[in-house]
Amino acid sequence: MGIAWIVLISVSSNPVLGESGAQPGDVGRGRHVFFATGGCTCHTNLPGEGKDAPLLAGGRGLKTPFGVFYSTNITPDPETGIGDWSDADFMRAMREGLSPDGEHYFPVFPYTSFSGLTDQDLVDLRAYLASLPAIRRENRPPDAPFPFSWRATLAGWKWLNFEPVPLPDAPDRSEAWIRGRYLVTAAAHCGECHTPRTLTGGLDRSMWLAGSREGPEGELAPNITPDPKTGIGRWSVADLVWYLEMGIKPDGDDTQGLMAEVIEHGYSHLPKSDLEAIAVYLKALPAIEHDLRRE
């Protein structure tokens, strides 16, 4: 029980803007952060509405083992989007999974990863989102059975599963590795799909990036640790960079599903140095043998 209080207190006392010393948000830098997150594509209903889906206006159904949750409107519309939020509201949502009214967000929204984003990246991302067209569209409640549709339960979920992303100093590591760790763990939130979950839906960190059969939308998210048989052990840094740029695997095959979207609308727009950093970090992970196809 003692641990619980410590976690709760540390969650609720996360610093918000004002104490952080971040510079005012910059749209250009924020665009970069936006691409690093994969272009926030979960907030655009491409599968349901195709190419004309209103950008970032939400309504995309994300199928999870707990029910279907609909992404929210993150356009600057003041009533149905996030236009009237302060930077502090935005940071609290991204870091603590709390709405401006203090409601818990369903953890299908990966604040669990975004808690590792820097203050500067968050205010910059906010500035970029605020520069996009406002679209009026009401958010949609989840199609999930009780108690998974009930936000109050999420306090318990957070207690069980949520710790702000730890990114401890790593003086022995290269700059590329440190940048790659930040991108993979916080911004690009790779672990949210590529790490299997525990019984209560938290990330199983002992299987970090070793792949999951229960990615959002019911997709299989492959093992991206460097295991030669079941992971990406045979992919070179050049293979990974090319993949994140082009969506083409070393065997010449293309990419489908959510990964194709986050490449097209996100990662492929990152500078090569960032893609290399991601590759360096992934190649240095502990290899975990985990064959998803035969599970």
Partner: protein, 182 residues
């Protein structure tokens, strides 16, 4: 203490225990029916090898994938292979002409990821193939031209044409026949 919230468990219980249970029952039922009529369904022989049409069209598609992989290998590793990208791209464009005849006969049972949509939307399928051929010819042209900056976007466009057709007409990896233990 950490396991003291049982409310989250039930869906997992369903996916981990009950669903496999149902699958097991279904598989046992299927095995029973196979024994009863003594056949494997007529699309695979007793050694489980592919029906010839499946085998051929997979060979055609693999050839295209191999050429795509070769183009990628040259470009991402900056290999000095003058003229090769254009040749690989031309091979892909020529192979595009093999696809429709290879798939003409409808075979959907057996070790294949071809969706029935191929034959239901045969015209769309052919249009996608034509787009792919055009994208491959464009790449061949860009790769033999004077503007190296045009090659990257041409590769990307070709990759998108593969992906666009696969999205409609090939089963996703979650449903692939390759997932079954061999």
């Amino acid at each position: 203490m950490r396991n003291a919230v049982p409310t989250f468990r039930s869906p997992r219980l369903f996916s981990r225990v009950i669903t496999p249970g149902i699958v097991l029952v279904l598989v046992m039922g299927l095995a029973g029916s196979l024994q009863a009529d003594g056949s494997m369904g007529g699309h695979a022989d007793h050694h489980g090898s592919a029906e010839p049409h499946i085998q051929y069209r997979q060979a055609v598609m693999s050839g295209i994938g191999a050429n795509m992989g070769a183009i990628a290998s040259i470009l991402k590793n900056r290999l000095s292979m003058p003229g090769h990208v254009a040749i690989h791209a031309t091979m892909i464009a020529d192979s595009a002409r093999l696809i429709a005849p290879a798939f003409e006969k409808k075979v959907v049972e057996g070790p294949t990821d071809a969706k029935a949509a191929i034959w239901e939307d045969w015209k769309d399928f052919q249009e996608d193939i034509a787009k792919m051929e055009e994208a491959a010819r464009n790449l061949a042209k860009a790769a033999s031209g004077q503007d190296p900056a045009a090659v990257g976007p041409a590769v990307k466009a070709l990759g998108k044409s593969c992906g666009g057709c696969h999205e409609e007409f090939r089963k996703p990896k979650e449903e692939s026949y390759k997932n079954a233990a061999r």
